[in-house]
Amino acid sequence: MLKLIILAPLVGATILGLFGKKMNERLIGIIACSSVAISALTAFYTVFGVLLSAAPGPDGVRRVSEHVMSWMRIGGISITDFGYVVDPLSGIMVLFVTGVGFLIHVFATGYMHGDESFYRFFAYLNLFMFMMLNLILGDNFLLMFVGWEGVGLCSYLLIGYYFLKKEAGDAAKKAFIANRVGDFGVVLGVLLIFFKCGSINFQKVMAWAATQPMETLGMSAVMAGGLTTIALLLFIGATGKSAQIPLYVWLPDAMAGPTPVSALIHAATMVTAGVYMVVRCNAIFTKAPSALLVVAIIGGLTAFFAATIGIAQWDIKKVLAYSTVSQLGYMFLACGVGAYAAAIFHVMTHAFFKALLFLGSGSVIHGMHHEQDMRYMGALKKYMKATYWTMTAGWLAICGIPIFAGFFSKDEILWKTFSTTALPAPFPMILWGLASLTALLTAVYMTRLMTVTFDGAERYDQKPAHHDDHGHGHGHDDHGHGHGHAFKPHESPLSMVVPLAVLAVLSVFGGLVGVPHILGGKIGVHNYFEEFLEPVIAVGHQVPGEHGAAPAGGHGTTAPAGEHTAAAPAAHAPATPAAPAAHAPAETHSEGLEFGLMGLSVVLGVTGILLGKAFFGKNPLWQPPTLLEAKYYVDEIYEAAIIKPIENVSREGLWKIVDVKIVDGAVNGAGRLVAGLGDTLRYLQSGFSRTYAAFIFVGAVLLIGYFFINKP
């Protein structure tokens, strides 16, 4: 069953990769989409049909697992067994990965229409799905890491899809290298886990982590090689994959890839792998307050930082890219304050609305004949009604307007940040402030994007002559007219609009699965999402004694008692009262405060929208500050501080001295030695085979004679 989920995209990728060249677009589209569809349907069946009715395991987590084979057997000891498992966490992930993935596949059949290596694109895309599913469903760190590297590879391939453009190739390399830095952290982390725990199976590791004592807050824990070190190493990997400070620089550049790729990989799925990993390892992170603090700070900073850059970008996709970085920051912030369920909730809603926004922007780009610069758009509302309205849903969702999906998840993060007890005193307030400010900024830059793109005057013909730095690797310009003279943008084909519509619906209503208790509790609506995810997150959590009656349940959620009894044996274990319950905020805050904060965030969102509308409606071409437009010169700083020195050391030191003088010298010297020896010995080699035979014969006789003298 699980194998089918995993294998369907692989089969698709194989077929397309090997035979796709001969197929027509229709067939390729059918194969690619149907393979993902099979995967998605199987996933839905597995989650809703099997997982929900499965009996909880001994640790209270429902699991559907499938053992594939014994992997890496060394001297009779099985290092790891290779298997797949669906539990609530990976269940949610697999649902939206396959679901959104399927929609984006469908979208891409329209978007990529006419591309000369259509089949290659879909082969990569299917391969990506396969790797992503491995990442999510693998039941051990190693298999997850295989998927982790695999999605990195596919990301590289797809960013560099238009490899004839230097920009795309450079971006691909940048993404790959930035990820490598992070992957190194993951490798070290996994090795450390194996070293410490003796297993890399998630279930075993988490059970092990649950038995470990709480680590202290401070530098000493970081360097101690315990859980904090593991957590930080893993987090380094997450910063690479999920584009956090300081490794976020690759994501905006990755927009050089085709737009469906940006939507699928660089917004909805792959970049959330870091969040997934942190949540998956929540038992480890919970025990490592220093790591949590780092995660929260990095997350909060990234969110704010990227949002400020997002305000100043002209490329429509770059805006969305920075927005993604910013939203990922939110998710890490949630992780950092111990609100893992909120993080995953935001991952899901973000997947809906960000995929929607990206696909919408793809639709716009498609309609504009591969123009990505917002300065040359405007008034598209008129021409692209469907795109406009669907994107509006995404816009409102990301701004956090109530009912829309983004509201619930973002608000939950803000509230949890404010109310957390996992961090020492001033941090929750500071981070909350930062996050709220970010929420305002988010609303502003998204409004700017919508306004500049869809409202105002038409600016299609203001393009300067040297415009060819965008989007022409596509090989798709069947319209016979270029820029510079008037043309009309057109609405996208049905295959693109339908996914947009589906995603729009999801963006609007998708958040209702996780309605906070204070809103839904009165009318009997539970926070289903959190309840579903609870057991996974509860694994290994120590619950402070005073919360014994409402264990692990978030702020007073009245979950069915039976489930919680089974949820976590550890949860009821006596624990040190001083240990903060990371995921369960103290009940000291009143409901009123929560309502107030919720209201504040709505106000912030609305303010941002109004501000944006008012300001950018008047002067859409407002010149942003250079510092922001140039992205704080981070790339330049990296160039000067890291890349150049490495290059110089490599060239001057490693190449000119170590390689040329020492390595080559040794090799050449060995060669010269052998040549000299050969020069003298070659007289033995006459070329007559009989002479050689004579040598052998003499040798044999002498050898036997030798054994007469030296009797063994």
């Binding site: 006789v701 036997i704 004679g705």
Partner: protein
Amino acid sequence: MTIQQIVFIVFALIITAGGVGVLVQRNPLYSAFSLILSFIGLAAMYILMGAQFLGVIQIVVYAGAIMVLFVFVIMLLNVRDDELHPDRHKYLLYIGVPLGLGLIAEVFYVVTRVQIAPAITDMHATGTVGTVERIGVGLLTEYLLPFEATSVLILMAVIGAMHLAKREKE
């Protein structure tokens, strides 16, 4: 002297005569036939030692297949005698024969001096060692890997020989 010893001597003489024939004949075809004679003698030796299967196989494989191949090639190339130009390595004769004598002396020394406890007094025809069953079981159990390896070797030899001997198309 038992009858087996007489038989041994007779066939040892035949084998040796065949071997000498290989060395002294100038015509390769005569050499080949001398060797066949030698091989038939060896087959007789095997049967004398109770290895009936190998004895027959010796004739089937060596005399019946390998030597036919040799004779076939000799006839195909139709070379009558050694080529006439002078031997550049005459000295090999003067090295080779003494070396050979030395080797024989050494082996004789070993054979006469080293005592091996006589495990089985009657060496021939009593045991079941040489039967097809024993050899078959041995080949397909303990020696299965070498057996399979040699079959791969044969395959390679077949392909290699075909490739080498194939006349290239102009």
